[in-house]
């Protein structure tokens, strides 16, 4: 209990409160602007949080992302464009609801659903993380090697679009991770004679480029025309919202469960959680044929809207326990923590309980704060959407440039940001997902370090990777994950045969 008191004391810090409020407003703003994702918001926020202590830094990212994922629903309902990809699944329904005069209810449901989803995900984090951490205390370099390999494998298998392309994305991330001093001999790899590159590709400028600059490039290449902003009537919004949520509570529960599970998988974030939850709700609902048509339907907004926020919180489970990020947001945060000398892992649970309690409390705080701020955002949404992109895009570029520079006061960082920005744009244009690139960058060194440590320790006795019980279990799990698409294909074919026969 002493730790909890310490954590509460840490929350009373005025700097922290200021950071939370500022990042909340920032998150609502970025989230509400179509085309800017929560990942981009995180990448741009990083240069600021880089200068803070670990807890305020994590608090800023948590608050900002919770706000941004909800705010992504605003332009969905008003201009039929998802503010963040996590809202894309139910954008059609939200917009059609607004057209039919139920816009305030749709957004009210999205808001309260987000709050409940966020808190449910936080509860999952509080319960699951310490249990897993206790288990993970028995891990050695062999198990960490497999955990990282499992994370890499899962990120490819669940990546959106083609898995071959996901694999290529991952390998590009892994190659980028090998730039710099190698850990076995201290040999300089792929530095092309540059002494600045000896320390490797700086993670933060890489993220700013991949998600910030590439998004701007996409935005200016295909500028949208003037948008028609629908109007909302917010009278009686909360009464209607509560009524709707009581009616569709089953969808809410399943949305929270799906979001929590998917969020904890490496590489799958709120976007995929929302799509899966949408599909599950549609299958379970008698009114599924109405989804996305006519007046749209509020049921998918209840379930998918809470699933994406639940996924945000549960993504911290593997991040904190194993140092394997659950989504791109936690991947960026993990990069920051590592730079700041905080090594996530089971030891963190033994040694730094106040930090962990602080993180749990911030999740609850951020989600409670979402109620008043989210309501204000709904009221002001029409205004939020009028920010001209002709001004906004250059401002984002300026922050990309200064943000990359500030990490090391170096111009090489700006160049890394530029190169990865162009690379990120080209990859995504050709259907390659970006999340595996990040996971490769973060997990590549972990895989290599734990492998080399293990084999040098035992004089290249590779059997240890297979015969240690937890290692063997993780290996089997990895193979199962690899075989999942094949198994799914077989099962589908069988059920198709059953149905026709």
């Amino acid at each position: 209990m002493g730790d909890l008191a310490t954590a509460l004391g840490m929350l009373a810090d005025p700097t922290l409160i200021l950071v939370v409020l500022a990042s909340a407003v920032y998150g609502l703003f970025i989230g509400a602007i179509p085309g800017l994702s929560a990942t981009l918001a995180t990448a741009l926020l990083v240069p600021f949080v880089f200068f803070l202590d670990p807890l305020p830094a994590i608090a800023a990212v948590i608050t900002m992302s919770a706000m941004a994922i909800f705010a992504g629903d605003l332009p969905s309902a008003l201009v039929r464009m998802p503010g963040t990809p996590a809202s894309a699944a139910y954008t059609e329904d939200a917009y059609l609801q607004t057209r039919a005069g139920h816009g305030a209810r749709a957004l009210g449901v999205a808001l309260v659903g987000s709050v409940i989803g966020g808190i449910a995900g936080a509860v999952v984090l509080m319960v699951a993380a310490p249990l897993l951490a206790e288990f993970a205390l028995q891990f050695t370099s062999y198990e960490y090697f497999w955990i990282a390999v499992l994370g890499l494998t899962a990120s490819v298998i669940i990546s959106a679009g083609s898995q071959v392309k996901g694999a290529i994305s991952l390998l590009i991330g892994l190659i980028l991770a090998t730039v710099g001093i190698d850990i076995a001999l201290g040999y300089a790899r792929f530095t092309f004679g540059s002494t600045d590159l000896l320390q490797g590709i700086s993670f933060i400028p890489a993220m700013i480029g991949l998600f910030g600059l590439s998004e701007v490039l996409r935005g200016v290449l295909r500028p949208g025309g003037p948008v028609h902003v629908a109007r909302l009537r917010t009278q009686g919004m909360f009464r209607e919202t509560v009524h709707t949520l009581r009616r569709y509570w089953r969808g809410m529960v399943s949305g929270n469960a799906i979001g929590s599970v998917i969020g904890a998988l490496p590489g799958a974030g709120g976007d995929i959680a929302a799509w899966v939850s949408y599909a599950a709700t549609k299958n379970a609902s008698k009114e599924g044929h109405l989804f996305g048509k006519g007046e749209g339907h509020v049921a998918p907004i209840v379930s998918a809207g809470s699933a994406n926020n639940a996924a945000l919180a549960s993504a911290y489970v593997p991040t904190l326990v194993f140092g394997i990020p659950g989504d791109t947001i936690t991947a960026i945060l993990l990069g920051v923590l590592l730079v700041k000398g905080v090594q996530p892992g089971p030891v963190l649970f033994e040694n730094d309980a106040p930090l962990l309690y602080g993180i749990y409390l911030i999740f609850i705080l951020a989600n409670l704060l979402l109620i008043p701020l989210g309501y204000l955002a709904i009221r002001g949404s029409a205004w939020l959407l009028r920010v001209p992109s002709t001004v906004l895009m250059p401002v984002i570029v300026a922050f990309c440039v200064v943000g990359s520079f500030s990490i090391n006061n170096g111009y090489l960082e700006i160049v890394i940001m530029l190169v990865l920005g162009v690379l990120g744009y080209l990859l995504e244009r050709s259907g390659f997902p970006l999340a595996p690139v990040v996971l490769g960058l973060v997990l590549g060194p972990i895989v290599e370090k734990n492998f080399m440590q293990s084999v040098i320790k035992t004089d290249w006795d590779l059997t240890q990777f297979l015969t240690r019980p937890i290692s063997a279990a993780l290996l089997v799990l990895t193979v199962l994950v690899l075989l999942y698409p094949v198994l799914r294909g077989l099962l589908r074919r069988r059920s198709a045969v059953d149905a026709s026969g």
Binding site: P47, F48, F51, A88, T91, E92, A160, G161, S162, V164, K165, A167, I168, L171, I172, L174, T178, D182, A184, L185, Y187, R189, F190, L213, L217, V220, L221, R222, P223, D271, W275, Y278, A279, G292, P388, S389, T390, V391, M393, P394, V395, V397, A398, V401, V402, F405, S406, Y411, I414, L418, V422, R429, S430, G431, F432, G444, E448, F451, M452, V455
Partner: protein, 163 residues
């Protein structure tokens, strides 16, 4: 429901996939060839070259898989990834890249204030903001960054000749 992004086909034209698959394979092959010059561990065991060569080898493999799949998918309907991109759009993208390159080249000589202020104005103006709006927004952004990074975060921004 609109297109589910978790569904398999990516809708990218096959020639496009052919080129990206080839590029991936070439990159992988280049990595594998290059790491052969890396030293081994003292007892002759693989060291710094081990991981890059595994990754490079897998890149060749998956690149070729993509090439094969692209060839097999010939004639299937696909969306043009460049649809909707105009010459003007390309010019705007070049202007964005120009701001970054221009900053890297000029900031040390001209200082942050002048370089960022002028480049921001030019970019906003090129993207279509009205000159007065562009001047005000560029000045406000530059001032805000200077305040936050230099005063609050204590990042020394380049001073330049006029600093």
């Amino acid at each position: 429901m609109t297109a589910d992004p978790t569904a398999a086909p990516t809708g990218i034209p096959w020639r496009h996939d052919l080129v990206s698959g080839l590029l991936a394979a070439v990159l992988g092959a280049a990595v594998v060839l290059h790491v052969r010059t890396f030293p081994e561990l003292p007892d002759g065991q693989p060291g710094p070259a081990l991981f890059p060569s595994i990754v490079g080898g897998l890149l060749v493999l998956f690149g070729l898989v993509l090439v094969v799949r692209a060839v097999l998918a010939r004639g299937e309907p696909a969306a043009d990834p460049d649809a909707g991109i105009t010459g003007r759009g390309r010019l705007r993208a070049l202007a964005v890249l120009g701001l970054v390159v221009g900053y890297v080249l000029l900031a040390e000589t001209l200082g942050f204030l002048l370089t960022m202020g002028v480049l921001l104005f030019l970019l906003m103006w090129l993207l279509g903001a009205r000159p007065l709006v562009a001047v005000l927004a560029a000045a406000a952004t530059t001032g805000f960054i200077l305040l936050v990074f230099e005063e609050l975060l204590l990042v020394p921004l380049p001073q330049g000749l006029f600093g």
